[in-house]
Subunit: 466 residues, 2 copies
């Protein structure tokens, strides 16, 4: 993959046409390009040739038509927090920055839905919902934009109860490669009216179209919420607790695992004093009686698995501190090795295989000598290693990639996936054939050719070359 | 739409090739063709030219390759219970009957999933799950096959709590138009690995491929279940109860509306003695305490809306009788007008518009003089009219179609959909442009062309001509 690209090949007519149409909101300044050419992955930066700060769906459609006329690649940009190089301009082109399209267009309390522009972030939406009695549950680590979250089929800590972006988008507006403005879905909660275009674009990482509006599902803020933290003698005991909780059908809202090293990182970063042992963070949503019942059940299960220091956080400020620490864990982990970049793995396996998968992975990490805290949304069978790597140490970079590849192999052998929530981008293309097989990949390629025959929509992403 | 088709045009070489390969499991007998050329809609029968009783994915792939070589249309057949003409061979061709592919291949209790062949029906799966402590929730009125349910994106009474087929299929095997065997998804609970092929094929009604295996999600049988019936002075009061229940976030498992005429039909058909008034059927799932709490909340809401005779069915046999009566309501309604066929509407609207939509529809039915009981999965905003029509009375047929068209218009104006769960088939194609717009329909046509360039996979369905 060539991350460098010769800007000189962009035709001056394109620059002129964009400048004429969009004025100062179109930029070729080096600093602006650089900002739009890196994400939070350890992949090398690849700046676009130019950046447009778009303000409306109509503008995005116009820009796409100008790009198409000049054969310029188009890369949508939200908050720049992707972990697989989704936004890197590996073939140059125009980055369309959607962060100024950040209006919450409608909140319909009675229908439990909201319509937003794609630059609205998850925290911004929840702030706008303050006082309505509703909330939006999907919470990746970063305060990502909802457009970007839909494009990567993101999830987070609440998915075990509320599902992922796949389940929580009712309708979208998407600009396709021909500059058409496509409306998908409706505000009906379900529909059997033809092909599921909403799900087609969710997870397509900008390769089939640019999401310019979304209608998402909201949920009533639970009458009662309680959180708890519990340390375990081993990762296996913690995972055993998770499996039994899920199999009993306890409707737990969050159930997160952090290993001892991840807890150590959190303690340093967030000034907490958690016991540095494998730990589960829980959250329960429901009526006061329901929450108490769930919590009692889970506490009993944890007790059977050697759970220690089962500690409740019932005050909202304690809960917030706890979950903020959890959300900041990625940044906390980076602090374990100053100057390091992180390669973050993202496998997801059937829950019956989770303990085996984690045990084998922990042994692999130990043997490798790498620094790699482990954490994850274990209720879904999804966990991450944050593999810290000195980008200038070629041997270490190679060891990190080898370990990551072995982990993906392990997950695929267990009927899992290479990525539960981060997406394919550049980083995981090499696993696509292995995961899906040639026939399924041929279907994906046919869809891409059908909707983007000139390969201008975020080219070089998802589908491996060839 | 021409429902007649000249069988003579099928090349004898095709018949010979199929007979040689499949022997007695390939049939051109008139009775077999007739059985595979009608569904439960009021659309005129359109028999295929031949029928194959397939036994494996490999056989389906072989049959597709033979059909492709001779340009013969291919129509998958499950249980024949579709309501929109999905299986009618409007361009002739081969019906591939999957009902003998009815093995439950694996039940994995620890992962809450099962892998089945497409001819397994929902009742058969639940019978196979007996004793495991798990169940499969999706329950359309008919005892449909799981392959057919996935192909039409079916749902039923439990969708308000458990989602639709969209949400409950993890992975599939699909034979595509080129005879390839495509594996979609994995057993991981979530994945961000490329285009969502599982959701691409769910709801595609056989027009993009033939589903030959499915892995579906299962749920723990709730510790406690209770059902209730409550009559209301008016449909509006009943719907008011539903809306408030949903908005409060009560995790009700089922909440079904039947109008007075539907109750009358049930009383006759199922020998029940329900008060002939607008009625809600409820079901609550959870822990004993949780179920009691939900039920108390809903009973209080119903009371505020004039609910009468709130009656509990706590014994399993009473619950079964109640829900069996609910599931048989379609057949019960047919009994209201002997000799009639039914046109069943299927709109779904945002719940804030449900009362308005139903009120306007009830007035429209009253003005029309038609016999049309109303029932529905109102927790999702989805309801049906069973419009009874004498197929030989041209004027009545016209009145039924006009009323149905007005209802769809009303639902679309309210940001809803023409079909919540029955699919498009032949019957609802005329609304596709209105519902999705030209740009979205162009995307659907591009997908169809990409995956089925010769238009052999259930041709004439979903996409309107042109």
């Amino acid at each position: 993959m060539d991350a460098r690209h010769d800007t000189a090949q962009v035709p001056p007519q394109f620059i002129a046409a964009m400048r004429e149409r969009f004025g100062g909101r179109f930029s070729t300044a080096a600093a602006v390009r650089a900002h739009h050419g890196k994400d939070e992955s350890s992949l090398p930066p690849a700046p676009p040739d130019a950046v447009l700060f778009a303000q409306s769906t109509a503008e995005v459609a116009e820009a796409v038509r100008i790009c198409r006329a000049h054969r310029i690649p188009i890369i949508p940009f939200g908050t720049g927090t992707s972990l697989e190089g989704h936004l890197l301009a590996v073939r140059g082109g125009l980055s369309i920055d959607l962060s100024n399209m950040n209006a919450v267009l409608a909140v319909r309390s009675e229908d439990l839905d909201a319509t937003v522009q794609p630059g609205v972030t998850r925290k911004q939406l929840n702030a706008a919902l303050h006082g309505t009695g509703l909330f939006f549950p999907i919470d990746p680590g970063a305060d990502a934009s909802l457009g970007g979250m839909a494009a990567t089929r993101a999830s987070g800590t609440n998915a075990v109860r509320y599902g992922t972006m796949r389940d929580n988008v009712l309708a979208m507006t998407v600009v396709t490669a021909d500059g058409a403005i496509v409306k998908t879905g409706s505000r009906a909660k379900k529909s059997a009216a033809g092909y599921d275009l909403t799900r087609l674009f969710i997870g397509s990482e900008g390769t089939l179209g640019i999401i310019t509006e979304l209608t998402v599902r909201l949920y009533p803020v639970p009458e009662a919420i309680s959180s708890a933290v519990c340390a375990f003698p081993s990762v296996v005991e913690a995972v055993g607790t998770v499996i039994q909780t899920i199999q009993l059908g306890v409707p737990v809202a969050r159930i997160e695992l952090l290993d001892a090293l991840a807890i150590k990182a959190i303690n340093r970063h967030s000034k907490t004093t958690l016991r540095e042992a494998p730990t589960l963070f829980f959250e329960f949503h429901g009526s006061p009686a329901g929450v108490e019942e769930q919590a009692r059940t889970v506490q009993a299960i944890a007790g059977e698995h050697g759970g220690m220091d089962f500690e409740w956080a019932t005050r909202p400020e304690d809960r917030s501190r706890l979950w903020q620490a959890r959300h900041d864990v990625y940044y906390a982990c980076l602090g374990l090795k100053p100057g390091a970049r992180a390669l973050t793995t993202d496998v997801c396996v059937p829950i019956s295989r989770l303990a085996d998968c984690i045990t084998a992975t922990v042994a692999d990490v130990a043997a490798s000598g790498l620094i790699a805290p482990l954490l994850g949304h274990v209720g879904d069978g999804n966990f991450h290693l944050v593999l810290l790597v000195d980008p200038d140490d070629g041997a270490e970079v190679a060891r990190v990639h080898e370990l990551s590849a072995r982990l993906v192999d392990r997950a695929l052998e267990m009927e899992g996936t290479s990525t539960g929530e981060h997406g394919i981008g550049l980083g995981k293309q090499k696993y696509m054939v292995r995961e899906h097989g040639d026939a399924a990949l041929a279907v994906m390629r046919a869809m891409k050719r059908a909707l983007d025959p000139d390969d201008l929509m975020n080219p070089g992403k998802i589908l491996p070359p060839g």
